[in-house]
């Protein structure tokens, strides 16, 4: 077995444009100030080079990838290269004609997000009247013969609808259901005090999911419940380790080891306009920065669990402790663990803060103030 890591997963963030304004978005808060989007040729080169390195799963995401008019071309090339192609979408910008085009282009699977199970709440969180169209598109996705994942990102405002979300998933004949508790990066971090569920809400939601699995889940369906890590004692094995199997390319061409790494200070993330994917993946300082175990500080360095969780999340370590090489403070062996506890407690109290929706105007305003 070779020791050089393979970027099995390529996440192509095709655009930051999005008709929705979800306040839990993981995109960078300052996205509106980023540079020009890669063009079709750039993307096809990225796909080709990453495939040569062994990338096999291709996620097409954003923003809203449907905002790219060349999405069909990118899917076709991706499939031709041998990728398993996953479209990760809100459904807004989709219609039956486009779905037919995707089918012909060879798209393998579609993940449709809902913001809630009720129209009123969905449309409020999305900042857009989108619920009816999402319902129509979820039905059309199945009618066109695609495998469908439904994704619900949960937080304080919608987590009590878990039962109804699961019922909606059955009704729409989803093959997979992801109940993903908000992870606090990007816009979600900005809105953390408004989004954080209470511990009681989290426990109840997990209980309802388990009851669903035991009693009502159709045999063909699979559910994934992503736990909120602020309530954990061990960190998540973030990205299975930095530069291990996950490569993100942002709309403006930055290559990252995860969605959120761009915020880390002192790291010059290479741009695919200037470097080959091979040079970036194997040779760049950025991709090697926290690869493996050599970079670790205590308590990770001597920890028996380091090969299980890789020290957790570098971004979370940075956001809480100021140093991305520290142990993810979610770990209760971290000397900074009390910061996570505090954040979880503070965020559960009623707050004066109001929700900041993700849109270009707020992005520009927040990039000046932060």
């Amino acid at each position: 077995m070779s020791t050089a890591p393979t970027p099995l997963w390529l996440l192509a963030e095709l655009t930051y444009k999005c008709p929705l304004q979800c306040p839990y978005c993981s995109n960078p808060v300052d996205y509106a100030t980023h540079g020009k989007e890669l063009d079709t040729e750039d993307w096809i080169r990225v796909l080709t080079e990453a495939r040569k390195l062994g990338a096999a799963q291709l996620g097409l995401s954003g923003g809203e990838p449907l905002a790219r008019t060349d999405l069909e071309d990118i899917i076709r090339e991706g499939r031709k290269l041998g990728y398993y192609t996953n479209l990760i979408t809100s459904g807004i910008g989709m219609d039956e004609d486009r779905l037919d085009n995707f089918k012909v282009a060879g798209l393998d699977h579609i993940q449709v997000s809902f913001q809630a199970s009720s129209e009123e709440l969905n449309n409020w969180i999305a900042g857009t009247d989108s619920f009816q169209h999402k319902l129509d598109m979820a039905k059309a996705v199945k009618a066109a013969g695609f495998q469908m994942v439904l994704c619900f990102v949960t937080h304080r405002e919608n987590i009590e609808q878990i039962d109804q979300m699961l019922d909606l998933s059955v009704q729409l004949n989803a093959d997979y259901v992801e109940l993903a508790t908000t992870q606090y990066y990007g816009w979600a971090f900005l809105n953390r005090d408004v989004l954080m569920p209470t511990r009681e809400q989290v426990i109840e939601a997990e209980r309802q999911t388990n009851v669903f699995r035991d009693e009502r889940m159709p045999s063909h369906m699979k559910t994934f419940y992503v736990v909120p890590d602020y309530f954990e004692k061990r960190p998540k094995p973030c990205m299975s380790g930095w530069g291990s199997l996950f490569l993100v390319v942002t709309p403006d061409g930055k290559a990252l080891p995860c969605h959120a790494a761009r915020q880390l200070p002192g790291i010059n993330f290479p741009n695919v306009r200037e470097h080959s994917i091979s040079d970036i993946w194997h040779g760049s300082e950025a991709m090697n920065k926290f690869r493996g175990f050599e970079w670790m500080t205590e308590p990770c360095r001597s920890c028996s669990e380091k090969e299980k969780d890789f020290g957790g999340c570098r971004c979370q370590a940075y956001m809480f402790t100021g140093d991305p090489a520290n142990t993810d403070p979610v770990c209760d062996k971290s000397p900074h663990h009390d910061l996570i506890d505090q954040a979880a407690k503070v965020s559960q109290k009623p707050t004066e803060k109001t929700i900041v929706f993700r849109n270009p105007k707020n992005s520009r305003r927040e990039s000046i103030t932060t």
Binding site: T6, L8, L53, G54, A56, Q57, G59, G82, Y84, N86, D108, H109, Q111, G145, F146, Q147, V149, D175, Y176, H220, K222
Partner: protein, 103 residues
């Protein structure tokens, strides 16, 4: 690893990959893989050889006889039946239906 407690498919069952699953050779990993929405399994040599024959037209018995021709010295039948049972249990393969599903 196979688990003999899982119920086997009858030898006459025609098997296909489950909808949304794709089986292909991956040069970089030097093995066959099964890919599905947002996931992938790398397969060992014998699993790869078995799944090669799961095409919607072969029955369990056909798959075994193909493999026995390929590997005449081995007595494969029960291992293949156990593996296919396990693959069915994982949701990788399904009995194929008459309506020719998506190719």
């Amino acid at each position: 690893m196979t688990n003999s407690t899982i119920e086997r498919f009858p030898d006459s069952t025609l098997l296909a990959l489950a909808p949304g699953y794709r089986f292909q050779w991956e040069e970089a990993q030097n093995c066959h893989v099964l890919m599905y929405p947002e996931g992938m399994v790398s397969l060992n040599d014998s699993s790869g050889e078995i799944l090669k024959h799961v095409d919607g037209a072969n029955s369990v018995a056909d798959i075994i006889s193909h493999l026995e021709r390929q590997f005449p010295d081995a007595d494969l039948g029960d291992d293949v039946r156990d593996f296919l049972a396990e693959a069915g249990n994982n949701g990788w393969v399904k009995p194929s239906t008459d309506d020719k599903a998506n190719s």
